[in-house]
Amino acid sequence: MYQMELADGEQANGLANLLNMLLSQNLASNPEKQNLARKMNCSIGLYTTDTDQHCTLVFGRDKLNIKNGLVKPVRVQVSANTSHLIDVSQLKVVGGWFPSGFFTKRGWQIIKEILAGRLKVKGLVTHLLTVIRFISLVSIAR
């Protein structure tokens, strides 16, 4: 079982706690997502623009460590608001690599937000597979 850890324990910020809950539930219910998490082997930084919170997800071989703040180096850095995070978590990714959810109304809206610069994904082009795998991990889409 892929482990999850909040590095800051009781002091973990809201964003870190939310991602911990979401990823814990997603991985517990889906062994394929556990395999995907093992393959990540990188760090992803997240920042919520409307709540001004940072956290870093450090994907190890057997454990995900979620830390407050932006802890560099990160392979991908996401800057988004609450609505973006909620929308992205509802995108479907087939087989952990095909983001079919982008071909939906919600998906097109997310693409527009990226193009408008309101949702920023640093590393989107250079680490596209990492981004897609991350979406797959946080996705609640069936």
């Binding site: 964003l15 809950m21 539930q25 509802q90 609640i140």
Partner: protein, 126 residues
């Protein structure tokens, strides 16, 4: 009315159910059959049962629920005043979901925001 008193719960059930758009807020209103326990720290708690996307029961705790969510009074006042949406405060960690599948909350975040905001329509004594 005192928060979570039966009088308050009756008023809350009415303002929620009276909204003709209620079931449309859910991703699948016809199958939204969940029980919630909702608390305000230091002020009280109540239970809210949904059956097919409408409130079937609102009142004193009667048993186990599918979800437990709530916050401190200051956060509820922000939600009630409309200054912040429940979903944003959820991301901030101010509105806590201590029990229940998060995917249901995420899928129905519009309903979460709109139903929580209905607290502002009731003159509440915290």
């Amino acid at each position: 009315m005192k928060f979570a008193s039966q009088e308050w719960c009756d008023a809350f059930k009415k303002v929620v159910n009276d909204d003709k758009d209620l079931t449309s807020w859910f991703s699948d209103g016809a199958n939204f059959n969940y029980k919630f326990e909702i608390f305000a720290e230091g002020s009280g708690k109540f239970q809210l049962y949904f059956q097919k996307g409408t409130v079937d029961y609102c009142g004193a705790p009667q048993g186990d629920t599918d979800f437990i969510l709530g916050s401190d009074v200051d956060t509820w006042k922000k939600i009630a005043s409309g200054s912040d949406a429940a979903s944003k405060l959820f991301t901030l960690g101010k509105l806590k979901v201590s029990k229940g599948p998060l995917d249901i909350i995420i899928r129905n975040v519009v309903a979460l925001d709109k139903i929580c905001a209905k607290v502002g329509l009731i003159a509440t004594e915290w």
